[in-house]
């Protein structure tokens, strides 16, 4: 069987995709624009899908690529469209519109 440094190529690709998922999780965490954060998390779901391919779980890939890339993104975009697009991390000032 074909090997690179004593490991199958699947394992190296698994490490690569998990690194990719870690980077995209960090980008999701620091992003203030929520639509961009949702797109980053969809990219992270793509990385997890490819990692599941490398983990020899084709049935999980079929379920997860529909849920993770499709349904989660559509759901979060729907919520972002109905509510607000930007998050404000700095503490809020005095309440302006007090009843």
């Amino acid at each position: 069987m074909y090997e690179i440094l004593g490991l199958s190529p699947c394992t190296w690709l698994l490490a690569l995709f998990m690194t990719y998922a870690l980077i995209l999780t960090y980008k999701t965490l620091v992003e203030r624009d929520l639509v961009k954060a949702i797109i980053y998390s969809a990219g992270q779901a793509v990385a997890y899908t490819l990692a599941l391919v490398m983990l020899a779980a084709p049935d999980l890939v079929l379920a997860y690529v529909a849920v993770g890339v499709g349904m989660y993104t559509a759901l979060f975009l729907f919520v972002a469209a109905r509510t607000e697009r930007y998050e404000h991390v700095e503490p809020p000032g005095e309440e302006v519109n007090k009843p």
Binding site: A15, L34, Y48, A56, L60, L75, V79, A80, R82
Partner: protein
């Protein structure tokens, strides 16, 4: 040596994603950002469960040897031993299929609650929601 290093690296990265998403859920004030980090957390838990089922060095799908659409061989001791030797553990994969769908249902429910909160208080920021609840009611 390199194989153990790479497998430890994969586990460390998975734990790091879990820690990052927990940190994001704890510190970000926006409810939608919390939901996004919660989805990442549940998916990473699923990936970790599948990853535990993989014996290091063996990555083959859990398909019983010799089974095709038309041919179903008898499950003898030696074929079972060969299956356990050369395939990943199928039990976490079976559990995770259910967990993915349940996670989707939970997230839809939480998104609905977040949208109701936005309709009542006019913001998704949990600090502002707390202020407005303390000052007595909606926007």
């Amino acid at each position: 040596m390199i194989a153990e290093l790479v497998w430890s690296y994969i586990y460390v990265v998975t734990i790091a994603v879990i820690v990052l998403s927990l940190y994001g859920m704890a510190t970000r004030p926006n409810l939608l950002k919390k939901l996004i980090m919660l989805s990442i957390l549940s998916d990473t838990g699923n990936i970790l469960a599948v990853l535990i089922g993989v014996k290091s060095g063996v990555i083959k799908p859990p398909v019983f040897p010799g089974v095709s659409f038309t041919h179903h061989p008898e499950a003898g001791t030696e074929s079972l031993a060969r299956f356990a030797e050369e395939a990943v553990d199928p039990l976490p994969q079976v559990l995770v299929v259910t967990a993915i769908v349940i996670g989707l249902a939970v997230l839809i429910f939480l998104s609905y609650i977040a949208m109701l909160l936005y309709r009542k208080y006019g913001t998704l920021d949990v600090r502002l929601i707390e202020q407005r609840i303390r000052s007595g009611g909606g926007r």
